[in-house]
Symmetry: C2
């Protein structure tokens, strides 16, 4: 089933307590697309890069059958560049450099073949840019997933609420859910967000897993406890890609199958954090993905007898 | 099945962003005993209080069939008193007052009838006091559970390691697991701790749930997302009490049943945090407990199809 992914394609420069990189391939749409395509989704990418974006990365997208007709190249411009340094806990980081470059005036233009996707993922971007994508669709997708961040809550509140109104699944972290609603309790925050438009809410809690809210129900998927977290960059975006990739493959958007999509998202993210950048996310066999999913089954499965039984 | 619980019985004075208490009943052994007894354990308490400890609290233990033959009363002394204030996130707190009082020279003396328990819980206490308990046993219990904290890692390292060597289950929080081993990765920390004596390790992560490690396996139980966390005091001790209470009731110390015990511990803790002190933990019917356990089943259960299936 076809997926349109809109988001950043970037250069990242990353420092962790263990090692550091030169400029490597990054960006939300990169991680989302790589994860979704390896679960069998037909991914169509919408983004923008500069003339400095290497052929090698272009062909990487081709290798994963990611359609880049919607990837604008601005020969005179430079690609979006982000640099960050992780603290020793690997859960928090400082942004060292954010050079928007060609992203600063990104106008996402959907090729004709992209205008009727079955699934749409709006990666974290300026809300007005996300809105521009929605306005070009000729039909409403089966499911629209939107990611955002606290920055837009501080700087583009009204636009943000307008986009949120039009999507099916919102993904935020716990702090962002609190900021968006003024509620400290995640249960109360979720109840409020589910009145703002989305039918589903995913709250990402990093190493503590993710929560999926729908109507009065909640599902909790832990993150896999790993021996090494090498580089968390892209974990949240990989999660979103695994999530949509599973839904596209199974063609089922019931709450029960969204639970499974959360597990696939978590499994794919566990590959990403094991290596720098997209390295851990490349070249995954279906067998390797299934093995990882089975670890999640073992991690949470129990067979309980009640006191009164 | 008989359980001996050794730990503090105390007065607590608690402030949260929402409300505050006068001196109320607290102490690790109080929470452990109330939780374990309501799951059907025959609880035998070992602790010390002063002459200020009210008859009303004594009869509360009686009401829950908690044997207090091992509860020493020092008429001239005052009971252990702790006061703390929670921050607005409800996950961190400042200790305002710690008056050890009669706890300062607590010498736990096991009545004859306590010396051969099936289960033993060593609540968080000076390691040498925990050791004194082990030294009075006439037979080794089926399972010994030990709680401790970072303070003893700073002040009584050698004693602490000696006690850890002799127990079956160690319960610590994530920061303590890291401090005890010098490993940031919880998986690596767990592997080290499992070479130090315990066959099982429980890492408590508060609102993020708990991990159970055994040999090469790991089980993750989330905490129940609650609308209101009113007062987290005693949640970890309630968890330990629910854990041992379930094991005592089911008489099964397999890894699979320890998973269930983690769920019962988490369920009991969810009652504690909903009200001040022990209020939420009192008067629970088996039906109410079962309902809570079912919420955990719903929270984590999924039925997944693999990519290759």
């Amino acid at each position: 089933m076809s997926i349109v992914v809109v988001g950043t394609v970037a250069f990242d420069k990353i420092e962790t307590p263990f090692d550091k990189t030169d400029k490597i391939l990054g960006g939300a749409a990169t991680y989302i697309s790589l994860a979704a395509s390896q679960l069998g989704g037909e991914v169509n990418l919408v983004s923008v890069v500069g003339g400095d974006f290497p052929e090698e990365y272009m062909s990487l997208f081709g290798k994963y059958n990611i359609n880049i007709d919607g990837l604008q190249v601005k020969p005179e411009g430079k690609s979006f560049f982000w640099s960050g340094r992780y603290h020793s806990d690997m859960n928090s980081r400082d942004t060292l450099i954010t050079d928007l470059n060609v992203l600063a005036d990104f106008d996402p233009i959907l090729p004709e073949s992209y205008k009727n996707p079955e699934f749409l993922v709006l990666g974290n971007l300026t809300p007005s840019v996300q809105m521009r994508v929605l306005d070009q669709l000729t039909h409403r997708p089966k499911l629209i997933v939107m990611d955002t961040m606290n920055f837009w809550m501080d700087t583009a509140w009204d636009d943000l609420l307008e986009v949120i109104k039009r999507v099916d699944v919102l993904t935020v972290n716990d702090g962002e859910a609190r900021q968006l609603t003024g509620e400290y309790s995640l249960v109360k925050a979720a109840q409020k967000i589910l009145t703002m438009g989305p039918k589903f809410l995913v709250i990402k809690k990093g190493e503590h897993g993710a929560l999926l809210f729908h109507e009065k129900s909640v599902f909790y998927a832990p993150a896999l406890p790993l021996e090494e977290v090498f580089d968390p960059t892209g974990a949240g975006d990989t999660f979103a890609g695994g999530f949509i990739g599973h839904l596209a493959r199974t063609k089922d958007i019931s709450f029960d199958n969204l639970k499974n999509a959360i597990i696939y998202g978590s499994a794919m993210a566990s590959f990403t954090v094991e290596q720098f950048g997209t390295e851990g996310l490349q070249g995954l066999s279906h067998e390797a993905i299934d093995e990882r999913v089975k670890l999640f089954v073992d991690l949470v499965q129990f067979d309980i007898s009640l006191v009164n039984s």
